[in-house]
C-alpha cells in the first residue's frame, strides 16, 4: 500500500486518491498514482480550448481579435433566386450557429455536439460580396468590386470573388473543422461553395504572445499593424469612410492568395533575402535599425553610399508617405499539397481590413506592382473583396442593418 512505504513523502493528493481507492485495493491505487503523474497540470492555467471571444457587439469578431492559429476562409455563391427574405433566413441560421459555437455551445441540430465543447477563441466573421448586396436591394460601398488589375497578378478565378464570405478561425484545427461543417451544411440549401482556403500560424503557446508571425519565407511578416482601440484602428478600420449607412461599424476585407515560390527563394542567399524586404531575417528589424519595431531610416546609406534599405525593397515600396494609406493585416500561411512534380505549393493568405479599400489598399498595391523586388518570388493568384457588415446584438443577426 502506498501509505505503508517508508521514507516516502506523500502529497495530499496521493493520500486522497489512495483513500478513495482503498475499496479497490493497492493495485488500483498505484494505477491512479501513475495516471496522475502522467498528466501533470499547472493549477489554475486555463485550457486554450476553453477560451472564448464574445460574438455579439458593435463590430464582428475576428478582426480586432488577436489572430488565432488556424483559419478557414470560404466564399459561397448564392442561388440566383436569393432575395432579402432569403438572406434574412440564411443569416439568422448562420448567426445562431456562429454565436453558439463561439461560446462552446453546440449549434441547434448539431449532429456532433461533442466537437463544440472547446471553442478555442473561435470567431466567425461574415462578409458580403457585391452580388449579395445587390440581391438585398442595398447600396454597395463604392469599393466593393474586384480590385483593379495589377501587372503582377496571375489570378485564377477559382480563388476569387464570391457572394458570402465566412472567415472561421480558432486556436484549434478540429474546432475550425466542426464550425466549418456546421456552417456549410446550414448554407447548403442557399448556395454552393465557391472556394475554401485554409491557413495557419504558430500554435498557441509556441511563442511569446504578441510575437509577429513569420511567413514560409522565414520573414517576420506584419510588424507595422494597427493596435485595437487606438485612434488609427478606429478611423482606418472601423471608420465610416464614405460607406453606406448599413456598413457603420463594419469595414472592408481584401484577401489576396499569394503564391510564394519556395524553390526559387532557395536560390537566394541570406543578404539578398534581407535586401528584397529591407528587414533582417533574424528579428525583422529594418536594415537601418536593430530592433523589429525601430522606425526605418530610408535615407540611411552604407559606407560606400548605397541606401541601407534599398529603393526596390518591399518595406520601402509598401510604405506610403500618406498616413491614410494603411491597412490592418491579418494573414495566414498556407501550405497545400504540391502538384505537377513540384515539392511545394505554399504561400500567404494575405488578409487585410480597411474602411475604404480603394483609398487604403489599392495605392499600396499599386506601388508594389510598379516596383518591388519581392515580386520575383511572390505571385498573387487569387483576389477577393468583401464588405464586412457590423456586428449585431443578441436577438439580431449579422446583416440586419442591410436586410
Amino acid at each position: 500500500m502506498l501509505v505503508d512505504q517508508p521514507g516516502r513523502r506523500l502529497s495530499r493528493r496521493h493520500l486522497l486518491l489512495g483513500g478513495a481507492a482503498a475499496g479497490i485495493g493497492a493495485v488500483g491505487a498505484v494505477g491512479i498514482e501513475l495516471a496522475t503523474n502522467a498528466r501533470p497540470q499547472v493549477v489554475g492555467q486555463p485550457l486554450n480550448g476553453a477560451q472564448t471571444v464574445p460574438f455579439y457587439g458593435a463590430h464582428q469578431a475576428g478582426i480586432d481579435t488577436v489572430p488565432q492559429s488556424n483559419a478557414t476562409i470560404i466564399a459561397l455563391d448564392l442561388a440566383p433566386t436569393t432575395d432579402a427574405a432569403t438572406l434574412r433566413r440564411l443569416m439568422k441560421v448562420l448567426t445562431s450557429d456562429a454565436a453558439r459555437l463561439s461560446q462552446g455551445e453546440a449549434a441547434l441540430a448539431d449532429s456532433e455536439p461533442e466537437l463544440a465543447v472547446a471553442p478555442a477563441r473561435l470567431t466567425v466573421t461574415f462578409g458580403f460580396g457585391p452580388g449579395l448586396v445587390a440581391a438585398a436591394g442595398g447600396t454597395a460601398p463604392t469599393w466593393l468590386r474586384p480590385l483593379p488589375a495589377f501587372g503582377v497578378d496571375r489570378l485564377d478565378p477559382a480563388w476569387g470573388d464570391g457572394d458570402l464570405l465566412l472567415q472561421i478561425a480558432a486556436d484549434d484545427a478540429l474546432t475550425v473543422a466542426h464550425a466549418t461543417r456546421m456552417l456549410l451544411k446550414d448554407s447548403r440549401s442557399f448556395g454552393t461553395v465557391r472556394w475554401v482556403q485554409t491557413g495557419f500560424r504558430r500554435a498557441p503557446g509556441s511563442v511569446k504572445p504578441g510575437t509577429t508571425m513569420r511567413n514560409l519565407f522565414g520573414q517576420v511578416d506584419g510588424t507595422v499593424n494597427f493596435v485595437p482601440g487606438t485612434p488609427d484602428f478606429e478611423r482606418l478600420v472601423w471608420g465610416a469612410a464614405d460607406n453606406p449607412g448599413w456598413m457603420l461599424g463594419g469595414t472592408g476585407f481584401v484577401l489576396r492568395r499569394i503564391a510564394m515560390d519556395l524553390d526559387k527563394w532557395d536560390k537566394l542567399d541570406r543578404s539578398g533575402r534581407e535586401a528584397s524586404v529591407g528587414r533582417a531575417l533574424s528579428n525583422g528589424a529594418p536594415l537601418s535599425g536593430t530592433n523589429e519595431t525601430d522606425a526605418p531610416d530610408f535615407a540611411a546609406k552604407t559606407a560606400i553610399g548605397f541606401l541601407v534599405i534599398p529603393e526596390f525593397s518591399h518595406l520601402r515600396r509598401a510604405r506610403s508617405e500618406n498616413p491614410d494609406e494603411r491597412i490592418l493585416r491579418r494573414g495566414y500561411n498556407y501550405d497545400d499539397a504540391p502538384t505537377g512534380g513540384s515539392v511545394s505549393n505554399s504561400g500567404l493568405l494575405f488578409v487585410s481590413f480597411q474602411a475604404n479599400v480603394d483609398a487604403q489598399f489599392v495605392p499600396i498595391q499599386r506601388r508594389i506592382d510598379a516596383l518591388d523586388l519581392l515580386n520575383v518570388w511572390i505571385t498573387p493568384i487569387g483576389s477577393a473583396v468583401f464588405a464586412i457588415p457590423p456586428g449585431c446584438a443578441a436577438g439580431g443577426y449579422i446583416g440586419d442593418t442591410l436586410f
Binding site: 460574438f55 455579439y56 433566413r89 445562431s96 453558439r100 446550414d186 443578441a394
Partner: protein
C-alpha cells in the same frame, strides 16, 4: 455575452410576466414562452433550443428541451402549429423486430417536477403531419402546447436543414 444568456433571461422573466413589458432580447434560437396565466402549469413550462426540421411537403418534426420549474409534474397533452394540419406527440421505441419506430406517446409527455424532457431526433418529438406549406431553413414557426390543465405554452422554433430524424413512421 454568451448565447446562454437569453435562456436565463427567459427563465428569470417568467416570474415577471405580469410586472413588465420589457422584452427580453432573444436570438432566433431562444424560446419565446407566453403563459396564459401565472397560476397555470404553463407558467412553469419553457422550452429551450427549439427547432424544427425543414421539409418540402408531408411530415416533419420539432425538437427542444421542455423545462419544468415547478414542484409538480407537467403533462403536455397536445400540440398545434399553423405549419401542419396535425401534430402528434411521439416517442421512438423498438418494435417486435427490434427496429426503432415512432408512435404516439400514450397520455402525452410528462415533464417531471423541477426537471426536463428532451425532444430529440431518434427519440421523443413533436410529429408534424400534413404540412401546410414548405418549412424552409431559417424561417420561424409558431407552436402551441396544451397542458393537462388546459393552459397553453406558445413558442417559436427556427427551421434547420437536418439529414437525420428519418425513423420509419408507424402510427
Amino acid at each position: 455575452m454568451t448565447s446562454t444568456t437569453p435562456r436565463l433571461l427567459i427563465v428569470a422573466a417568467l416570474g415577471l410576466l405580469a410586472l413588465t413589458g420589457c422584452a427580453a432580447t432573444t436570438d432566433t434560437a431562444a424560446p419565446h414562452t407566453a403563459a396564459t396565466s401565472t397560476a397555470t402549469a404553463a407558467a412553469s413550462l419553457t422550452i429551450t433550443d427549439p427547432w424544427v426540421k425543414s421539409a418540402e411537403t408531408g411530415m416533419s418534426a420539432a425538437f427542444g428541451t421542455l423545462v419544468n420549474v415547478s414542484d409538480t409534474d407537467i403533462n403536455v397533452v397536445s400540440a398545434e402549429s399553423t405549419a401542419a394540419t396535425m401534430i402528434e406527440l411521439h416517442e421512438t421505441v423498438a418494435d417486435d423486430t427490434g427496429a426503432m419506430v415512432m408512435q404516439q406517446k400514450e397520455g402525452g409527455f410528462i415533464v417531471p417536477a423541477n426537471g426536463t424532457y428532451e425532444l430529440a431526433p431518434g427519440a421523443n418529438h413533436l410529429m408534424l403531419m400534413g404540412l401546410t406549406e414548405p418549412i424552409v431553413a431559417g424561417a420561424e414557426n409558431t407552436f402551441t402546447l396544451t397542458l393537462s390543465d388546459g393552459s397553453t405554452v406558445e413558442f417559436t422554433a427556427p427551421a434547420k436543414d437536418y439529414s437525420g430524424a428519418n425513423e420509419s413512421y408507424d402510427k
